[in-house]
């Protein structure tokens, strides 16, 4: 008897990622991080778990990895802080939860899941989202816990107007000269 099909895919951002820009050891580290993240969700599915639990497991693993622009390793705002957005949706009943501009929840995707399961709403934003997630006893961290040296350097480069090639998620040229061209080597969207 054939097993019911399962399927899974993940992403960690897209952009003008140029072969050779990253040192080989960094590429290896990113491949390993992707493997670790998809394994987390795949194990859930292989054990008969739900797709909702599987996608949450994958995204938590990616949020915990400083290589990606989510959770630990999130980019800086102009003010030097971090604002996190996340959403999760269940295809079985189209229930959904999302947060925008959250500051303190360690794993934003878990915050989105809490909105899905424990609120009457689909999206909570800013200080209200922070307050709701605190009331829901979600693990909190100081906002600077999300800092990494790579992101701080990119933030500083952007503030000083120097646009050195990097793997940063950055402004694209939507606002004309505000942010520099999006086709430069290494440009990556958040």
């Amino acid at each position: 008897m054939n097993k019911a099909p399962i399927a899974i895919a993940i992403h960690g951002g897209a952009g003008v990622l140029t072969p050779g820009l990253l040192p080989p050891q960094d590429e290896d580290a990113i491949h390993e991080a992707l493997r670790h993240a998809i394994d987390a969700g795949h194990q859930v599915l292989e054990a008969g778990g739900s797709s909702l639990d599987a996608v949450e497991s994958c995204v938590v693993a990616l949020e915990e990895c400083p290589w990606f622009n989510a959770g630990k390793g999130a980019v800086f705002t102009e003010d030097g802080t971090h604002e996190m957005d996340a959403a999760i949706m269940n295809g079985a009943d189209r229930s959904a939860g999302a947060i925008a501009g959250a500051h303190y929840i360690r794993n934003p995707i878990r915050g989105a899941r809490v909105v899905l399961e424990h609120s009457d709403h689909v999206m909570l934003a800013g200080e209200g989202a922070d307050r709701f997630l605190l009331e829901q006893d979600q693990p909190q961290v100081a906002n600077d816990w999300f800092d990494t040296e790579l992101r701080r350097r990119q933030w500083q480069d952007n503030r000083s107007g120097h646009k050195a090639p990097s793997l940063e998620p950055s402004h694209a040229n939507h606002h004309g000269g505000e942010t520099g061209g999006s086709e430069k080597p290494g440009h990556k969207f958040g």
């Binding site: 399962i6 952009g15 969700g41 599915l45 797709s51 957005d85 949706m89 999300f146 992101r151 958040g190």
Partner: protein, 133 residues
């Protein structure tokens, strides 16, 4: 931005997306990630989709829901629907980035109009793959 889509053994799909946004963002800018239908969408009648890219364009193209609607109402398969939206609708607006998607029948599609996307997927034989470019 990071994201995941999955189909479980009960036939249900789900999608999740998370991001720190764009570097040096101001004015409490919010992109497509938390907007249901734009950066994140899941519906057992069509597909689960998670997007990454220039959020303002993904919002205007309502990327996730557009892919699902093409499947549900126009009979497109997953690959065709994803490619039409990413390489035609989105590209016509000037939007760059990509999507990952799975359908309830087990199809998987990774579609992007940029030179690279960090990604991983499980193929038809159960093997897990990772790629950058």
């Amino acid at each position: 931005t990071v994201g995941a889509v999955a189909l479980d053994s009960h036939g249900h799909v789900a999608s999740a997306t998370s991001t720190g946004g764009i570097t040096n963002k101001r004015f409490s800018r919010v992109g497509d990630t938390p907007l249901i239908g734009a950066g994140t969408w899941a519906d057992d009648r069509s597909a689960a989709i998670s997007a990454t890219g220039h959020g303002e364009y993904f919002i205007r193209a309502v990327v996730g829901h557009d892919i699902a609607a093409r499947m549900r109402f126009a009979g497109r398969d997953l690959a065709t629907a994803c490619d039409e939206v990413v390489h035609q609708e989105l590209k016509a607006l000037g939007g760059q980035g990509g999507v990952i998607a799975v359908s309830p029948d087990g199809d998987t599609r990774l579609s992007f109009n940029t030179p690279g996307m960090y990604r991983a997927w499980r193929d038809d034989e159960g093997q897990l793959h990772t790629a950058i470019y």
